[in-house]
Amino acid sequence: MSAPLTRTAAEDLLYREALLIDTQRFAEWLELFTPEVEFWMPAWRDENSVTEDPDRELSLIYYKGRRNLEDRVMRLTSGLSVASLPLPRAVHQVTNVMVLGADEVSATVSAAFTCHRFDVRMGRTDCFFGRYEYRLAWHSDAWLIARKKILLLNDTIPTVVDINVI
């Protein structure tokens, strides 16, 4: 049990997540997620709406279970993926953090993000932006991410978007 999540505590967690991924501390990043985490970036159905049912509609990324994120990190850092060599330089700016609901064991948090990516390989800078919806869960001594939904607003993908730039 914990005290209900405050905005400051939510910001601490989200900023720490951004720092870990931007500094490529992927093992520590993975520790922020619950084993059953739902990690979801829907696709756009049309100009105005994103897909809502991941079992009947396509997502850009949909995983249930941290194990899948471990696979993604393994590939990203394997040295065997030409698309990931060298890893792009990226910085996430997480803003507009709001706690939408919270009790002692769970919380719902929304935020906006901008991620600037410098693709070292092509000498090209891209910017991705959108909104996050988090569900956080209290796990014995820390808030962990039980669900992360990423609404990518500019979804014409320049060649590649991996888990480290969204």
């Binding site: 756009w44 009947r56 396509l58 590939r75 394997s78 060649t159 590649v160």
Partner: protein, 445 residues
């Protein structure tokens, strides 16, 4: 244009080479747009993208904005998506439903059969008799035809009927269309990406068995981990159940077929495995279509209908539309294509497999598209302009089909039967022979 500058095709000498300039030259690109994308059949979409009366979707043919519209009686037509008045783009969205299209610029309007409904304030317009007597409807595409729900258009009127253009390759579209009695659909959710390289690199990569173990070792590593450490959280992959791509595999593993007009297939044997979402229909398909056709539906199949349609049925099922934007820039519009009426579990499996492998946010496609960009950069080196990537399989290619195509009653122009190591490159010849045919001639464009 002297196409021998770009394609060195001398079968009697055992030589087939492509010049790097074919991917970079502005003159070549502009002529491709006119001759290939605005000069013959190109794929537009599938009928279920405009399923109901007055539904429409938009796309492009070369530079031409296109609207495919179903009218109130259910007939599909293709039009230039441009108001005849000032030329403004009429339909603004990628799909929708419109009984009436009203141009947002001066309010000229058109019904869903493309007919002019109103020229705003026409009676007050002091128009000449010549104007009053002319048609103010939308310009229909010079040719528009469907094959089994696959819709094609041509900006040139003097092209053969679509069935002739598709030829024997139509039987491979049948393998997609016949997977359900109810037909095909695109799973909601569309994914668009660009890459900074020539459109023909996508054409080639789809048909390229040689790159799999080289470009995707990071994905193969993930597959190996999944085999070792099974988990209910992880989607089953067809690759885990097949040896076809493994470098040490023995025996006939698949091969390639080349057809007239630049259509090609490369294929491999997966077998009838629960890792393929179609597995639940294996019995029904054999009963309805015969075992031969059923078995073919369970083969890995990468089909290109020249110049812009690819249906890849390997890790999942993907429909791709290739759109060239510049010599070094291409847009890909991609969807998960699926048989209508499959079970919720099969659909879920298909979607998970798709996202894992195909998306530009997935674990395989980015290693392809980044390799195209590396090629495009490499093409700057013209010390030796002729590429050597069209030579594998030269002594294995035979005229006509083989025992596998016979099972489908299909007669390709050429075929290769291969073990896992051969990785035929002669199927690319079909692309460039069609290309040369379309690009040759003296006219300005």
């Amino acid at each position: 244009m002297d196409v021998t500058r770009f394609v060195d095709d001398r079968p009697e000498a055992g030589v087939f080479r492509v010049n790097r300039a074919i991917f970079t030259d502005e003159t070549v690109f502009n002529r491709e747009i006119v001759r290939i994308f605005e000069g013959g059949w190109v794929f537009l979409g599938i009928a279920s993208q405009a399923e109901n009366p007055h539904d429409f979707f938009t796309t492009t043919m070369g530079r031409v904005p296109v609207i495919v519209q179903r009218d109130g009686e259910g007939a599909l037509r293709g039009f230039v998506n441009s108001c005849p008045h000032k030329g403004a783009r009429l339909a603004q969205t990628r799909q929708g439903n419109a009984r009436l299209h009203v141009c947002p610029y001066h309010s000229w309007s058109f019904d869903s059969a493309g007919r002019s409904k109103a020229v705003k304030s026409q009676s007050a317009g002091c128009y000449s008799a010549a104007f009053e007597q002319s048609d103010h409807g939308l310009a229909a595409l010079p040719r528009f035809e469907a094959y089994r729900g696959f819709l094609f258009g041509s900006m040139a009127a003097n092209v053969p009927p679509l069935a002739d253009y598709l030829g024997e390759a139509a039987k491979l579209l049948d393998l997609v269309a016949d997977q359900s009695k109810e037909g095909l659909e695109l799973v909601p959710g569309q994914v668009t990406f660009t890459y900074q390289a020539n459109w023909k690199l996508q054409l080639e990569n789809c048909s390229d068995a040689y790159h799999f173990t080289s470009a995707h070792p990071s994905y193969i590593r993930v597959l190996e981990r999944r085999q070792k450490e099974a988990s209910a959280d992880v989607v089953a992959s067809v690759w885990e159940n097949s040896d076809y791509w493994k470098e040490e595999a023995q025996g006939v593993a698949g091969g390639s077929y080349s057809f007239a007009n630049g259509h090609v297939l490369n294929w491999g044997i997966f077998g009838i495995t629960p890792a393929i979402p179609l597995y639940e229909s294996a019995g029904e398909l054999a009963e309805r279509l015969g075992e031969a056709k059923r078995d073919w539906m369970f083969n890995m199949r990468n089909l290109t209908i020249f110049p812009n349609l690819q249906v890849a049925e390997n890790a999942s099922s993907q429909l791709r539309v290739i759109r060239p934007l510049a010599p070094g820039l291409t847009e890909m519009r991609t969807w998960c294509i699926a048989p209508k009426g499959e079970s919720a579990a099969a659909r879920r499996q298909r979607i998970r497999q798709y996202e894992d492998f195909f998306n530009p946010t997935g674990m395989a496609t980015p290693d392809d598209t980044v390799s195209y960009e590396n090629c495009q950069i490499g093409y700057g080196g013209t010390v030796e302009p002729w590429l050597q990537g069209y030579a594998r399989g030269m002594t294995a290619a035979v005229e006509g089909g083989n025992r596998f195509s016979q099972r489908l009653g299909m007669t390709p122009e050429r075929s290769v039967l291969a073990d896992a190591q051969l990785c035929d490159e002669t199927l690319f010849h079909s692309y460039y022979r069609a290309w040369a045919q379309r690009m040759a001639g003296d006219e300005a464009a």
